[in-house]
């Protein structure tokens, strides 16, 4: 991996993030494919860049500032505030930002504790969790999500980007273990400590709280909705979404595809049941969908997957669609998956993340939906 960060900064990153995550952390700063492309795709599949102009954006859990600086590059006319409680990471974020020209719209603020927000933070139009929500302890999630919701201006949007989905058959962030997501905490903690395929050595030293902090418990749409006031609703995606696809896409390798069939069917049923709130077919007007999808199309890296295969998936998972004019598929490698294999190159077998949930803060009298879910599926389907 090539980097413009000096060795002194990279050594600090290694100390902050741990050696196992150093390449990942540097790649998030240096390799647009590691974070920025994904963020571009997801943000602009919901919103036009114009909608961010002149607005304040909070990057919650900014860490060393990779997501904050990416947001600053993508949204040069917005004020971006990076917030974290870890002083070492924030110091590093400021140090890296001082070398970047795009950081002129960026400021970093430290939280007094993991479960509180600084006073005088101000109101925001967008609150973004990029790869962050799953690192909060359950108590912190219960406390912080409502607090952050209150910081949203009317029609503001909460965006949860790239958190592991807790319904996914593989816990892909902290342990890499199958079915861990469905086990009680005590059992999950034991298995994660002794049988992890990610961060094996570190996990042996971790207690349950450390494992939670490492992201062993992901999140899902229901969990987030339950923590927000009743005015939070699912904003329907432009990009099609199917929970069943989480399972199917994550299941690879001999034998496992058999497990995918019942799992996918069960999740497909949930999609249909809750589809009105968290997935399924877009309610956007066709024109709006076309406009946004066109923008997505500009940044999507279409992979060589046959349209026929995609079409089958769409029909199987999502059901009849108004009209499929064009289908794009992208292979979205996922950094949470198991040991990376080449120097800093992103590799991944499973895409387990809940890539984007965007929630508008719907005020009384303001009609409209508003939690938006884009999948964490390797193959994303964009309907133009």
């Amino acid at each position: 991996m090539e980097t413009s960060l000096p060795p002194s900064v990279i050594q600090k990153i290694a100390r902050c993030e741990g050696f196992a995550w150093t390449a990942e952390a540097v790649a998030r700063h240096e390799n647009p494919a590691a974070l920025e492309h994904r963020l571009t795709r997801h943000l602009f599949s919901y919103f036009s860049p114009i909608q961010f102009r002149g607005h304040r954006v909070l990057d919650f859990g900014c860490g060393t500032g990779a997501s904050t600086l990416s947001l600053a590059r993508l949204l040069p006319d917005s004020a971006i505030v990076g917030l974290d409680f870890d002083e070492a990471r924030l110091t590093l974020a400021r140090s890296i930002a001082s070398r970047r020209t795009e950081a002129r719209t960026v400021s970093f603020v430290q939280s007094p504790s993991p479960s509180t927000l600084p006073a005088e933070l101000g109101m925001f139009d967008y609150v973004v969790f990029s790869d962050a929500l799953h690192h909060l302890l359950p108590t912190e999630r219960r406390t912080l999500l409502p607090l952050l919701w209150k910081l949203l201006r009317p029609s503001g949007t909460l965006i949860v980007h790239h958190s592991p989905h807790s319904w996914y058959p593989i816990e892909s962030c902290a342990s890499g273990l199958w079915l861990l997501n469905y086990l009680p905490d005590r059992t999950a903690g034991f298995l994660a400590r002794w049988f992890s395929s990610i961060d094996e050595e570190a996990n042996r030293e971790r207690d349950w709280e450390d494992l939670l902090r490492a992201g062993v418990r992901g999140t899902n749409e229901r969990q987030i909705l339950d923590l927000l006031p009743a005015n939070a609703e699912v904003l329907q995606p432009v990009v099609q979404h199917s929970r069943a696809a989480y399972w199917r896409e994550g299941v690879s390798g001999p034998g496992w595809s058999i497990a995918a069939i019942p799992a996918s069917a069960a999740l497909g049923w949930m999609d249909r049941r809750w589809g009105g709130r968290a997935g399924a077919v877009s309610r956007f007007s066709r024109l709006q969908a076309q406009l946004v999808a066109q923008r997505v199309n500009d940044v999507v890296h279409a992979d060589a997957v046959s349209h026929r295969r995609v079409l089958l998936r769409v029909l199987w998972n999502i059901g009849p669609l108004p009209r499929i004019a064009k289908v794009h598929v992208e292979a979205d490698s996922h950094h949470h998956t198991a040991p990376a294999v080449e120097n800093g190159a992103e590799v991944g077998r499973h895409a387990a993340a809940l890539d984007l949930i965007a929630m508008h803060n719907v005020q009384a009298g303001h009609a409209g939906p508003v939690l938006q879910v884009v999948d964490g599926v390797q193959d994303r389907v964009v309907i133009l």
Binding site: M1, E2, T3, S4, L5, P6, P7, S8, V9, I10, Q11, K12, A14, R15, G18, F19, A20, T22, A23, E24, V26, E200, E201, P339, A340, V341, E342, N343, G344
Partner: protein
């Protein structure tokens, strides 16, 4: 070009100045290798020591 190797304790402060030749900083948890490319850029290799073996990251 010869590669310089430095063995460091985990708490060792960052080294300065930036290397001008391929340099390895070795820690108990793994090592970082920097190959200068010029214009302030480096090729970075990270190796993590995992149960006695180094795993490329």
């Amino acid at each position: 070009m010869a590669t310089a190797v430095f063995e460091l304790a985990p708490s060792t402060a960052a080294l300065a100045p930036p290397p001008t030749a391929p340099t390895v900083y070795q820690y108990p948890e793994g090592w970082l290798e920097f190959v200068p490319l010029g214009a302030g850029r480096y090729r970075l290799h990270v190796r993590t020591r995992l149960e006695g073996a180094y795993v490329a990251r």
